[in-house]
Symmetry: C2
DNA sequence: ACTTTGATGTGAGGTATGTCACATTATTTT
DNA sequence: AAAATAATGTGACATACCTCACATCAAAGT
Protein backbone atom coordinates (compact mmCIF):
# COMPACT_ATOMS: atom_id res chain seq x y z
CA UNK A 1 0.00 0.00 0.00
CA UNK A 2 2.77 2.42 0.89
CA UNK A 3 4.12 1.72 -2.56
CA UNK A 4 1.78 4.48 -3.69
CA UNK A 5 4.01 6.92 -1.88
CA UNK A 6 7.11 5.46 -3.45
CA UNK A 7 5.58 5.77 -6.89
CA UNK A 8 4.78 9.39 -6.26
CA UNK A 9 8.30 10.14 -5.09
CA UNK A 10 9.82 8.31 -8.03
CA UNK A 11 7.91 10.44 -10.47
CA UNK A 12 10.29 13.17 -9.33
CA UNK A 13 13.46 11.55 -7.91
CA UNK A 14 14.86 8.04 -8.07
CA UNK A 15 15.44 6.25 -4.76
CA UNK A 16 16.78 2.84 -3.73
CA UNK A 17 14.87 0.25 -1.69
CA UNK A 18 16.96 1.14 1.33
CA UNK A 19 16.31 4.81 0.92
CA UNK A 20 12.58 4.22 0.65
CA UNK A 21 12.62 2.04 3.75
CA UNK A 22 14.39 4.83 5.55
CA UNK A 23 11.97 7.46 4.36
CA UNK A 24 8.98 5.31 5.25
CA UNK A 25 10.31 4.80 8.76
CA UNK A 26 9.58 8.48 9.37
CA UNK A 27 5.88 8.01 8.72
CA UNK A 28 3.26 6.48 10.94
CA UNK A 29 0.13 4.73 9.82
CA UNK A 30 -3.40 5.75 10.67
CA UNK A 31 -6.80 4.36 9.81
CA UNK A 32 -9.79 6.62 10.25
CA UNK A 33 -13.51 6.01 10.02
CA UNK A 34 -16.08 8.10 8.25
CA UNK A 35 -16.98 11.37 9.98
CA UNK A 36 -13.94 11.25 12.22
CA UNK A 37 -11.65 14.24 12.47
CA UNK A 38 -8.02 14.23 11.50
CA UNK A 39 -7.46 17.85 12.43
CA UNK A 40 -9.69 20.10 14.46
CA UNK A 41 -9.69 23.87 14.73
CA UNK A 42 -7.64 24.98 17.70
CA UNK A 43 -5.47 21.89 17.93
CA UNK A 44 -1.75 21.83 17.26
CA UNK A 45 -1.08 20.49 13.77
CA UNK A 46 1.62 17.89 14.01
CA UNK A 47 1.31 16.03 10.73
CA UNK A 48 1.04 16.29 7.02
CA UNK A 49 -1.00 13.38 5.68
CA UNK A 50 -0.39 11.29 2.60
CA UNK A 51 -3.60 9.54 1.62
CA UNK A 52 -3.33 5.82 0.90
CA UNK A 53 -7.05 5.33 0.42
CA UNK A 54 -10.34 7.01 1.18
CA UNK A 55 -11.50 10.59 0.97
CA UNK A 56 -11.29 13.67 3.20
CA UNK A 57 -12.15 17.32 3.21
CA UNK A 58 -10.50 20.31 4.80
CA UNK A 59 -12.75 23.26 5.50
CA UNK A 60 -12.96 26.46 7.42
CA UNK A 61 -15.98 27.70 9.31
CA UNK A 62 -16.65 31.43 8.94
CA UNK A 63 -18.13 33.98 11.36
CA UNK A 64 -21.68 33.08 10.25
CA UNK A 65 -21.11 29.40 10.89
CA UNK A 66 -20.88 28.57 7.20
CA UNK A 67 -18.32 26.03 6.03
CA UNK A 68 -16.03 26.59 3.08
CA UNK A 69 -14.15 23.71 1.57
CA UNK A 70 -10.49 24.44 1.09
CA UNK A 71 -9.46 21.12 -0.32
CA UNK A 72 -10.56 17.57 -0.87
CA UNK A 73 -8.15 14.71 -0.43
CA UNK A 74 -8.09 11.38 -2.23
CA UNK A 75 -5.63 8.56 -2.83
CA UNK A 76 -2.16 9.82 -3.64
CA UNK A 77 -2.82 13.38 -2.45
CA UNK A 78 -1.48 15.21 0.57
CA UNK A 79 -3.61 17.08 3.04
CA UNK A 80 -3.20 19.08 6.23
CA UNK A 81 -3.68 22.62 7.54
CA UNK A 82 -0.56 23.94 5.83
CA UNK A 83 -0.61 27.29 7.50
CA UNK A 84 -0.57 25.69 10.91
CA UNK A 85 1.71 22.83 9.91
CA UNK A 86 4.45 24.98 8.38
CA UNK A 87 4.46 27.41 11.26
CA UNK A 88 3.76 24.74 13.86
CA UNK A 89 0.82 26.56 15.33
CA UNK A 90 -2.79 25.67 15.96
CA UNK A 91 -5.26 24.75 13.26
CA UNK A 92 -7.70 27.26 11.82
CA UNK A 93 -9.38 24.60 9.71
CA UNK A 94 -10.98 21.22 10.22
CA UNK A 95 -10.18 18.06 8.33
CA UNK A 96 -12.45 15.05 8.49
CA UNK A 97 -13.17 11.89 6.59
CA UNK A 98 -15.86 11.61 3.95
CA UNK A 99 -15.28 7.87 3.89
CA UNK A 100 -13.02 5.41 5.69
CA UNK A 101 -9.47 6.52 5.12
CA UNK A 102 -5.94 5.25 5.48
CA UNK A 103 -3.14 7.73 5.98
CA UNK A 104 0.59 8.00 6.24
CA UNK A 105 1.44 10.70 8.76
CA UNK A 106 4.58 12.80 8.62
CA UNK A 107 5.43 15.10 11.48
CA UNK A 108 6.97 18.47 10.74
CA UNK A 109 10.14 17.45 12.56
CA UNK A 110 10.48 14.31 10.47
CA UNK A 111 9.81 16.18 7.27
CA UNK A 112 12.52 18.70 8.05
CA UNK A 113 14.85 15.93 9.14
CA UNK A 114 14.37 14.04 5.89
CA UNK A 115 14.80 17.22 3.88
CA UNK A 116 18.00 18.06 5.70
CA UNK A 117 19.45 14.56 5.45
CA UNK A 118 18.43 13.76 1.90
CA UNK A 119 18.78 16.48 -0.67
CA UNK A 120 16.65 14.38 -3.03
CA UNK A 121 13.72 14.57 -0.65
CA UNK A 122 13.98 18.29 -0.28
CA UNK A 123 13.94 18.42 -4.05
CA UNK A 124 10.85 16.21 -4.11
CA UNK A 125 8.97 18.42 -1.69
CA UNK A 126 9.99 21.58 -3.50
CA UNK A 127 8.66 20.24 -6.79
CA UNK A 128 5.52 19.04 -5.11
CA UNK A 129 4.87 22.42 -3.56
CA UNK A 130 5.49 24.12 -6.88
CA UNK A 131 2.75 22.06 -8.44
CA UNK A 132 0.42 22.83 -5.61
CA UNK A 133 1.10 26.50 -6.16
CA UNK A 134 0.05 26.32 -9.77
CA UNK A 135 -3.12 24.44 -8.85
CA UNK A 136 -4.03 27.00 -6.20
CA UNK A 137 -3.42 29.85 -8.60
CA UNK A 138 -5.65 28.26 -11.20
CA UNK A 139 -8.39 27.93 -8.64
CA UNK A 140 -8.10 31.63 -7.84
CA UNK A 141 -8.29 32.46 -11.51
CA UNK A 142 -11.34 30.27 -11.84
CA UNK A 143 -13.04 32.09 -8.95
CA UNK A 144 -12.16 35.46 -10.47
CA UNK A 145 -13.10 34.83 -14.05
CA UNK A 146 -15.77 32.13 -14.24
CA UNK A 147 -19.35 31.97 -13.08
CA UNK A 148 -20.70 29.15 -10.95
CA UNK A 149 -21.77 26.96 -13.87
CA UNK A 150 -18.42 27.27 -15.61
CA UNK A 151 -16.55 26.45 -12.43
CA UNK A 152 -18.76 23.43 -11.91
CA UNK A 153 -18.21 22.13 -15.43
CA UNK A 154 -14.48 22.66 -15.22
CA UNK A 155 -14.24 20.77 -11.94
CA UNK A 156 -16.34 17.91 -13.26
CA UNK A 157 -14.07 17.67 -16.26
CA UNK A 158 -10.88 17.84 -14.20
CA UNK A 159 -11.80 15.54 -11.31
CA UNK A 160 -14.62 13.22 -12.33
CA UNK A 161 -13.62 10.74 -9.59
CA UNK A 162 -14.46 13.36 -6.99
CA UNK A 163 -18.12 13.35 -7.97
CA UNK A 164 -18.41 9.67 -7.16
CA UNK A 165 -17.21 10.08 -3.60
CA UNK A 166 -18.36 13.52 -2.57
CA UNK A 167 -21.95 14.77 -2.09
CA UNK A 168 -22.89 17.68 -4.30
CA UNK A 169 -23.38 20.06 -1.41
CA UNK A 170 -19.69 19.73 -0.62
CA UNK A 171 -18.80 20.33 -4.23
CA UNK A 172 -20.95 23.45 -4.02
CA UNK A 173 -19.06 24.61 -0.96
CA UNK A 174 -15.75 24.02 -2.73
CA UNK A 175 -16.91 26.06 -5.70
CA UNK A 176 -18.20 28.89 -3.55
CA UNK A 177 -21.90 28.55 -4.35
CA UNK A 178 -24.93 27.27 -2.48
CA UNK A 179 -26.11 23.72 -3.00
CA UNK A 180 -29.40 25.11 -4.35
CA UNK A 181 -27.68 27.03 -7.11
CA UNK A 182 -25.62 24.01 -8.02
CA UNK A 183 -28.68 21.81 -8.04
CA UNK A 184 -30.42 24.10 -10.51
CA UNK A 185 -27.67 23.56 -13.08
CA UNK A 186 -29.15 20.13 -13.74
CA UNK A 187 -32.50 21.50 -14.87
CA UNK A 188 -31.40 24.75 -16.49
CA UNK A 189 -29.54 23.56 -19.57
CA UNK A 190 -27.75 26.78 -20.54
CA UNK B 1 20.64 46.97 -4.33
CA UNK B 2 20.99 43.22 -4.77
CA UNK B 3 21.54 43.10 -1.03
CA UNK B 4 17.76 42.95 -0.80
CA UNK B 5 17.94 39.48 -2.27
CA UNK B 6 20.63 38.46 0.16
CA UNK B 7 18.58 39.69 3.07
CA UNK B 8 15.63 37.67 1.89
CA UNK B 9 17.72 34.52 1.54
CA UNK B 10 19.31 35.03 4.92
CA UNK B 11 15.95 35.14 6.60
CA UNK B 12 15.87 31.43 5.80
CA UNK B 13 19.46 30.18 5.36
CA UNK B 14 22.84 31.65 6.21
CA UNK B 15 25.29 32.15 3.34
CA UNK B 16 28.83 33.49 3.03
CA UNK B 17 29.90 36.42 0.87
CA UNK B 18 31.39 34.02 -1.64
CA UNK B 19 28.25 31.97 -1.78
CA UNK B 20 26.13 35.03 -2.35
CA UNK B 21 28.45 36.20 -5.11
CA UNK B 22 28.09 32.82 -6.72
CA UNK B 23 24.31 32.83 -6.42
CA UNK B 24 24.07 36.36 -7.78
CA UNK B 25 26.17 35.41 -10.79
CA UNK B 26 23.24 33.29 -11.93
CA UNK B 27 20.96 36.31 -12.15
CA UNK B 28 20.83 39.00 -14.77
CA UNK B 29 19.72 42.57 -14.29
CA UNK B 30 16.85 44.25 -16.05
CA UNK B 31 15.39 47.73 -15.91
CA UNK B 32 11.92 48.23 -17.29
CA UNK B 33 9.81 51.28 -17.90
CA UNK B 34 6.21 51.84 -17.00
CA UNK B 35 3.72 50.01 -19.23
CA UNK B 36 6.36 47.70 -20.64
CA UNK B 37 5.81 43.97 -20.64
CA UNK B 38 8.00 41.52 -18.82
CA UNK B 39 6.04 38.49 -19.96
CA UNK B 40 3.44 38.29 -22.70
CA UNK B 41 0.86 35.61 -23.35
CA UNK B 42 2.14 33.11 -25.85
CA UNK B 43 5.82 33.69 -25.21
CA UNK B 44 8.17 31.19 -23.66
CA UNK B 45 8.72 32.00 -19.99
CA UNK B 46 12.43 31.89 -19.30
CA UNK B 47 12.72 33.74 -16.02
CA UNK B 48 11.46 34.12 -12.53
CA UNK B 49 11.85 37.75 -11.43
CA UNK B 50 13.00 39.09 -8.12
CA UNK B 51 11.86 42.69 -7.75
CA UNK B 52 14.50 45.16 -6.61
CA UNK B 53 12.25 48.19 -7.00
CA UNK B 54 9.06 49.28 -8.68
CA UNK B 55 5.72 47.61 -9.14
CA UNK B 56 4.22 45.09 -11.56
CA UNK B 57 1.06 43.14 -12.15
CA UNK B 58 0.44 39.72 -13.59
CA UNK B 59 -2.97 39.17 -15.11
CA UNK B 60 -4.91 36.88 -17.35
CA UNK B 61 -7.34 37.96 -20.04
CA UNK B 62 -10.51 35.86 -20.23
CA UNK B 63 -12.69 34.88 -23.19
CA UNK B 64 -14.68 38.13 -22.89
CA UNK B 65 -11.56 40.24 -22.97
CA UNK B 66 -11.72 41.02 -19.28
CA UNK B 67 -8.51 41.12 -17.27
CA UNK B 68 -8.10 39.42 -13.91
CA UNK B 69 -5.18 40.24 -11.71
CA UNK B 70 -3.38 37.19 -10.44
CA UNK B 71 -0.69 38.94 -8.49
CA UNK B 72 0.96 42.26 -7.85
CA UNK B 73 4.70 42.52 -7.39
CA UNK B 74 6.65 44.98 -5.31
CA UNK B 75 10.14 45.27 -3.84
CA UNK B 76 11.36 42.01 -2.34
CA UNK B 77 8.68 39.87 -4.03
CA UNK B 78 9.02 37.33 -6.82
CA UNK B 79 6.87 37.28 -9.90
CA UNK B 80 6.49 35.25 -13.08
CA UNK B 81 3.99 33.01 -14.82
CA UNK B 82 4.71 30.05 -12.56
CA UNK B 83 2.70 27.56 -14.52
CA UNK B 84 4.69 28.30 -17.66
CA UNK B 85 7.98 28.78 -15.84
CA UNK B 86 7.91 25.50 -13.93
CA UNK B 87 6.89 23.49 -16.94
CA UNK B 88 8.94 25.60 -19.35
CA UNK B 89 6.05 26.25 -21.67
CA UNK B 90 4.43 29.37 -23.06
CA UNK B 91 2.81 32.04 -20.96
CA UNK B 92 -0.93 32.17 -20.40
CA UNK B 93 -0.67 35.43 -18.50
CA UNK B 94 0.79 38.87 -19.03
CA UNK B 95 3.09 40.71 -16.70
CA UNK B 96 3.75 44.40 -17.10
CA UNK B 97 5.05 47.32 -15.08
CA UNK B 98 2.83 49.68 -13.17
CA UNK B 99 5.84 51.90 -12.58
CA UNK B 100 9.52 51.83 -13.53
CA UNK B 101 10.95 48.59 -12.23
CA UNK B 102 14.28 46.94 -11.60
CA UNK B 103 14.50 43.17 -11.67
CA UNK B 104 16.86 40.32 -11.03
CA UNK B 105 16.12 37.57 -13.54
CA UNK B 106 16.69 33.89 -12.86
CA UNK B 107 16.30 31.39 -15.67
CA UNK B 108 14.75 28.03 -14.92
CA UNK B 109 18.01 26.30 -15.80
CA UNK B 110 19.96 28.48 -13.38
CA UNK B 111 17.42 27.98 -10.66
CA UNK B 112 17.61 24.23 -11.02
CA UNK B 113 21.39 24.39 -11.24
CA UNK B 114 21.63 26.38 -8.01
CA UNK B 115 19.18 24.06 -6.28
CA UNK B 116 21.14 21.02 -7.36
CA UNK B 117 24.52 22.47 -6.41
CA UNK B 118 23.56 24.11 -3.14
CA UNK B 119 21.24 22.21 -0.85
CA UNK B 120 20.75 25.44 1.11
CA UNK B 121 19.24 27.15 -1.90
CA UNK B 122 16.87 24.33 -2.59
CA UNK B 123 15.85 24.65 1.03
CA UNK B 124 15.34 28.38 0.59
CA UNK B 125 13.10 27.92 -2.43
CA UNK B 126 11.12 25.18 -0.77
CA UNK B 127 10.40 27.38 2.23
CA UNK B 128 9.57 30.29 -0.03
CA UNK B 129 7.10 28.23 -2.02
CA UNK B 130 5.53 26.94 1.15
CA UNK B 131 4.78 30.48 2.21
CA UNK B 132 3.37 31.32 -1.16
CA UNK B 133 1.10 28.31 -0.84
CA UNK B 134 -0.34 29.55 2.40
CA UNK B 135 -0.92 33.01 0.93
CA UNK B 136 -2.68 31.60 -2.10
CA UNK B 137 -4.86 29.43 0.07
CA UNK B 138 -5.86 32.38 2.19
CA UNK B 139 -6.83 34.29 -0.90
CA UNK B 140 -9.05 31.40 -1.99
CA UNK B 141 -10.65 31.34 1.41
CA UNK B 142 -11.22 35.05 1.21
CA UNK B 143 -12.93 34.68 -2.17
CA UNK B 144 -15.09 31.86 -0.83
CA UNK B 145 -16.15 33.34 2.45
CA UNK B 146 -16.06 37.13 2.24
CA UNK B 147 -18.05 39.65 0.25
CA UNK B 148 -16.42 42.35 -1.83
CA UNK B 149 -16.31 44.94 0.94
CA UNK B 150 -14.74 42.53 3.41
CA UNK B 151 -12.12 41.47 0.90
CA UNK B 152 -11.33 45.08 0.18
CA UNK B 153 -10.93 45.97 3.85
CA UNK B 154 -8.77 42.93 4.49
CA UNK B 155 -6.46 43.75 1.60
CA UNK B 156 -6.16 47.37 2.66
CA UNK B 157 -5.24 46.24 6.12
CA UNK B 158 -2.73 43.65 4.91
CA UNK B 159 -0.99 45.60 2.14
CA UNK B 160 -1.47 49.34 2.67
CA UNK B 161 1.62 50.08 0.54
CA UNK B 162 -0.15 48.59 -2.46
CA UNK B 163 -2.81 51.27 -2.39
CA UNK B 164 -0.21 53.97 -2.87
CA UNK B 165 1.17 52.48 -6.06
CA UNK B 166 -1.76 50.79 -7.69
CA UNK B 167 -4.91 52.42 -9.15
CA UNK B 168 -8.14 51.27 -7.58
CA UNK B 169 -9.44 49.65 -10.72
CA UNK B 170 -6.56 47.20 -10.56
CA UNK B 171 -7.28 46.51 -6.92
CA UNK B 172 -10.85 45.83 -7.98
CA UNK B 173 -9.67 43.36 -10.57
CA UNK B 174 -7.49 41.61 -8.00
CA UNK B 175 -10.43 41.31 -5.64
CA UNK B 176 -12.77 40.03 -8.33
CA UNK B 177 -15.19 42.96 -8.42
CA UNK B 178 -15.81 45.80 -10.84
CA UNK B 179 -14.22 49.18 -10.25
CA UNK B 180 -17.71 50.67 -9.90
CA UNK B 181 -18.61 48.38 -7.03
CA UNK B 182 -15.35 49.13 -5.31
CA UNK B 183 -15.82 52.84 -5.80
CA UNK B 184 -19.21 52.72 -4.11
CA UNK B 185 -17.65 51.41 -0.91
CA UNK B 186 -16.39 54.93 -0.26
CA UNK B 187 -19.89 56.43 -0.12
CA UNK B 188 -21.79 53.48 1.35
CA UNK B 189 -20.49 53.29 4.89
CA UNK B 190 -21.75 49.90 5.96
C1' DA C 1 0.59 75.23 -20.50
C1' DC C 2 -2.27 72.49 -23.20
C1' DT C 3 -4.07 68.30 -24.69
C1' DT C 4 -4.69 63.66 -24.41
C1' DT C 5 -5.29 59.72 -21.79
C1' DG C 6 -6.35 57.32 -17.75
C1' DA C 7 -8.74 57.05 -13.14
C1' DT C 8 -12.68 57.76 -10.39
C1' DG C 9 -17.64 58.70 -9.04
C1' DT C 10 -22.48 57.97 -9.54
C1' DG C 11 -27.21 56.93 -11.43
C1' DA C 12 -30.63 53.50 -13.41
C1' DG C 13 -31.69 49.18 -14.38
C1' DG C 14 -30.44 44.06 -15.05
C1' DT C 15 -28.87 39.39 -13.56
C1' DA C 16 -26.63 35.70 -11.13
C1' DT C 17 -26.74 33.86 -7.09
C1' DG C 18 -28.38 33.68 -2.15
C1' DT C 19 -32.09 32.65 1.36
C1' DC C 20 -35.77 30.21 3.33
C1' DA C 21 -39.19 26.85 3.17
C1' DC C 22 -40.89 22.48 2.18
C1' DA C 23 -41.18 18.09 -0.49
C1' DT C 24 -38.77 14.05 -2.21
C1' DT C 25 -35.39 10.67 -2.43
C1' DA C 26 -31.23 8.31 -0.98
C1' DT C 27 -28.30 6.44 2.55
C1' DT C 28 -27.16 4.99 7.24
C1' DT C 29 -28.08 3.11 11.57
C1' DT C 30 -30.60 0.24 14.71
C1' DA D 1 -37.23 -3.73 7.46
C1' DA D 2 -38.08 0.28 9.88
C1' DA D 3 -36.62 4.51 11.53
C1' DA D 4 -33.54 8.14 11.51
C1' DT D 5 -30.51 11.03 9.12
C1' DA D 6 -28.47 13.13 5.23
C1' DA D 7 -28.73 14.64 0.35
C1' DT D 8 -31.17 16.64 -3.31
C1' DG D 9 -34.79 19.30 -5.97
C1' DT D 10 -37.62 23.24 -6.56
C1' DG D 11 -40.56 27.50 -5.82
C1' DA D 12 -40.88 32.46 -4.35
C1' DC D 13 -38.57 36.23 -3.16
C1' DA D 14 -34.32 39.07 -1.67
C1' DT D 15 -29.88 41.16 -2.65
C1' DA D 16 -25.08 41.83 -3.85
C1' DC D 17 -22.94 42.86 -7.56
C1' DC D 18 -22.69 43.87 -12.71
C1' DT D 19 -23.41 46.71 -16.91
C1' DC D 20 -23.68 50.75 -19.39
C1' DA D 21 -23.68 55.55 -19.65
C1' DC D 22 -21.96 59.88 -18.67
C1' DA D 23 -19.65 63.36 -15.74
C1' DT D 24 -15.62 64.82 -13.29
C1' DC D 25 -11.01 64.86 -11.92
C1' DA D 26 -5.97 63.63 -12.04
C1' DA D 27 -1.86 62.48 -14.48
C1' DA D 28 1.21 62.05 -18.39
C1' DG D 29 3.05 63.38 -22.93
C1' DT D 30 4.04 67.02 -26.25
Amino acid sequence: MSQILRQQIEKIVQITDTEFEYILSHFTNKKIKKHQFVIQEGQLVENDFFILSGCLKSYSTDANGKDHIIQFGMQDWWITDYQAYYSQTIATVNIDCIEETELLCLTFQNREKLCAEMHKIEHFFRKKTNKRNVALQNRILSLLSSNAKERYDKLLEQYPQLFQKVPKQLIASYLGVTRETLSRFNSTKK
